[in-house]
């Protein structure tokens, strides 16, 4: 049977014998020594990838992962055990191991699971895993040809495709039984241009929770040409300046800045433990009035969207983290929400069955303002315009964060002028929020393949922003 045409609950029941009764027994065993909460996360993941370089389809890969994790929570404590085997015996053994965190001897309570409906935010027409390999290879070949045709200096081109289908079944001691089928597809292209002994690379990617219908040869070609154009721009780039300057962020991927500077420091675990500069500051003004930051798992088809998080909470609405400058909410999982006496927000995500859920972002963006993007650039006498990013990092407890520009331009006398080489910007999250002095009306939710790392777990996320002006940031250039 094709595991991905059927409901995840039916799949695990028919293929692995994992039914509600088995999960109820495992949950009861997990709470056998007491404990406030237990859950079982069962996962089957099929992934495939294709790699083209030197105009050759060099490799394809297919992998299947199966596993389950049992969690027992007692107060602030979590016991966790996982396995690759879904037999009753293996799951009970995990439950007993996870339960060691609890010291009580309360008799096993009984759990009655009842299935919960989930929304459908993925809208897949043509599941990528089931499509012929040739269709995906066509994207890669088209990208390769387009990149080489776009510029004779294109020396090396690589293109990658990957898709993933994940069947997830989560049962909790609160009686919830939630099934979800989560698709993820990614296309990326990168080109190295070489001229006069100089080399530069450009790259573009797409990452969506969607089927093959969301990708096309035409788009692959366009992204390839954009990657080449980016590398060509970088070949003419001068060193970025060093020091403090006003910075204008292009709409879309620059949302990485919000992800690092504000998103991570607003995760509930860090705030509960006073490991964030925003601890205990709900209701305070932390940013300019122009600043509204939202985390939204409900957006259809985006990379960070989910029907259900990693612990059976269904995000129903966007979470407004900062509203017109005032801190309104943290990103909650069940554990932190209970300890902080707040409500879960559906942000308890996990990388896979080997991971404990922790508060994570989904799609995080700065809401649109009302400034004209061109006017924002015109208002800068000397500064930087940041077009594309390679990533960032934050130290939430001290609030310092970086983000690294891959493609950026000088702004001189209100005009975008020469391209500058990549450089890292550093700042403090609190200061950045006070320095957001203009927000454009041009919000773009980026469709790039962003991955966020925390506690050794990786999660697909979305970022977005309109054009934003930050009055002052430290730019790590060399001039």
């Amino acid at each position: 049977m094709d595991p991905f045409r059927v409901n995840a609950r039916a799949y695990f029941e028919q293929e692995h014998g994992v039914d509600a009764r088995r999960l109820e027994r495992v949950l009861a065993e997990g709470l056998g020594r007491g404990g406030d909460f237990a859950d079982v996360y069962v996962e089957y993941r099929q992934a495939s990838s294709l790699h083209l370089e030197e105009s050759l389809l060099k490799e394809s890969r297919e992998s299947v992962a199966v596993g389950a994790g049992v969690r027992v929570v007692v107060g602030e404590q979590t016991g966790y055990a996982y396995t690759n085997e879904l037999s009753l015996e293996a799951l009970l053994e995990c439950a007993r191991t996870a339960a060691r965190i609890a010291r009580g001897s309360r008799a096993a309570g009984s759990v009655n699971l009842s299935p919960q409906p989930v929304p459908d935010r993925y809208a897949v027409e043509r599941p990528a895993h089931a499509a012929p390999m040739a269709e995906k290879v066509a994207f890669l070949r088209a990208a390769d040809a387009a990149a080489r045709a776009a510029d004779p200096r294109a020396r090396e081109v690589t293109a990658n495709w990957s898709d993933e289908w994940r069947q997830v079944l989560i049962a909790t001691s609160a009686g919830e039984l939630v099934a979800d089928t989560q698709p993820l597809a990614t296309f990326s292209v990168s080109a190295v241009l070489e001229a006069n002994g100089q080399r530069q690379a450009g790259w573009k990617n797409r990452g969506l929770r969607a089927g093959l219908e969301a990708f096309s040869v035409a788009e692959a070609e366009r992204l390839a040409r954009e990657a080449v154009a980016q590398a060509a721009t970088l070949l003419t780039a001068v060193d970025a300046p060093a020091g403090e300057f006003p910075v204008v962020l292009a709409p879309g991927a620059s949302g990485v800045l919000l992800h690092e500077s504000v998103g991570h420091p607003l995760e509930a675990d860090a705030n509960r433990k006073r490991l964030s500069v925003f601890s205990g500051r709900l209701g305070e003004r932390v940013a300019t009035e122009l600043t509204t930051v939202v985390d939204d798992a409900t957006l259809p088809g985006l990379r960070g969207s989910v029907n259900v998080d990693g612990e059976a909470t269904i995000p129903r609405t966007p979470t407004v983290l900062i509203e017109k400058g005032v801190l309104r909410a943290y990103l909650q999982d069940r554990l932190s929400a209970r300890l902080m006496q707040m409500s879960p927000t559906g942000n308890g995500r996990r990388q896979d069955y080997s991971s404990i859920p922790i508060p994570r972002m989904t799609n995080t963006f700065l809401a649109a303002g009302d400034s004209d993007p061109e006017e924002i650039v015109r208002s800068v006498a000397r500064g930087l315009y940041c077009q594309a990013f390679s990533g960032g990092q934050v130290e939430p407890a001290v609030g310092k964060f970086t983000f690294s520009m891959h493609e950026a331009y000088l702004i001189e006398d209100g005009r975008r002028t020469r391209p500058v080489k990549g450089a890292t910007l550093i700042g403090s999250g609190e200061e950045i929020l006070r320095n957001i002095v203009a927000v454009g009306h041009d919000l773009v939710l980026d469709r790039g393949a962003w991955a966020c790392g925390k506690d050794g777990q990786s999660a697909p996320v979305g970022v977005g922003t309109p054009t934003v002006k930050i009055a002052k940031m430290t730019v790590g250039g060399r001039r």
């Binding site: 060099k58 992962a65 310092k400 690294s404 080489k421 990549g422």
Partner: protein, 445 residues
Amino acid sequence: MKDFPALAERMLAQARAAGAEDAEVHLSESTRFSTRVRQGTVETVTEATTRAVSLRVFLDQRVARAGASDLRPDTLEGLVRRAVERARLANQDPCAGLPDEFPAPPPAESLNLYDPALETLPADEKIALARDTEAIGLKLDPRVKNSGGAGFSTSRGRVWLVNTRGFAGTYRSSSCSLGLYLLGQEPGKAAQVSDYWYSAARQRAKLETPEQVARRTVERVCRHFGARKVQTQEAPVVFEPLLAAELLADVFAAVTGEAIYLRRSFLVDTLGERIAAAGITLLDDGLRPGGLGTRPFDREGVAAQRTLVIENGVLKNYLCGSYSARKLGRRSTGNGTGDGEAPTNFYLAAGPHAPEAIVASVERGLYVTRLIGQGVNLVTGDYSRGAFGLWIENGQLSYPVHEVTISGNLRRMLEGMEMVGSDLDFRDAFAAPTVKISAVTIAGT
């Protein structure tokens, strides 16, 4: 798992029956434990034993790969069959194939990779190690009262590798690690400062004690109090060993065979050239007994070796697996992963200088204690990362610095490594002593 060798043989036979000329099966089994204790409370305890298999099939100079943690026979049989089908759809590539030769790897026992004591170490003792480390750390300085937690983790397991060229190898390995993350706050100030320290080893007995880890963490936290920015300037920087090792990770990425043949490295076409200061010697040593990167053979079955990467400033070798070796007309250096290259123990050889003497040689500059962010362009070597550190004034560590960046070019930075310390610290698979680089741009106010 005692039926692993039979399972691997069955998969090889299935691959051949489906039409593969060559095949390779890698199996692994690992048992993990990790715990985190915060403010005296056990926050998490995680335990698991997991298994995984990965496969490569070759036919007619074409390749395909597969992997699974679902080891049911039907699943594996389907994966093998589909891998062979997919290989037929790949392009022919004259460099594709298993390694050409399999010199005998060193006996695993001689490499000191496994500590049987970790099998029997009780969970309560593991938790106590983390608990004690944090408790000691929180008593050492009245300004250090908040904690991100202390962690202790162990991992032990076995891998098997077999292929249709007659290679069959297996070895056991283990590792453990103890770490602590603490925060400090000065009286009357809102801002917190933070830092961490850790110790990792293959043997429990080689691990630093809770006392050592705690003291080192607190020292590192407390030196950040009162940090400020500095003016933008060009100045020398000194990387302490942990941070110099981070710099080496970028250098490693630039000397892999894959980065070279794809021309994604600033070290393309520089073999035999002087690329670093005289006295700079960089090695990748897969044979170092007890090393965290040590193993008898790589993921393709090529025996571990000790490779000189940079000798006295001259680039001597790229690090290759069998594929990139063929692409570049070189030999595998035993760094193959089947999909690129991985380091073993990649380290900068110790130099003659006491670390104190290196600091003393700097009139004004930055002693780097923490780096954050990406910001390394391997194609050009352009380097720009966020930094925390201590300002050096007249040869003395004077005050802490935060929220600055250091920027340069890795090639220039290698050429500018004018002093190397005697304090080589094998804390991880990347290792380095204290290093001074003559000039980078420090961006601040």
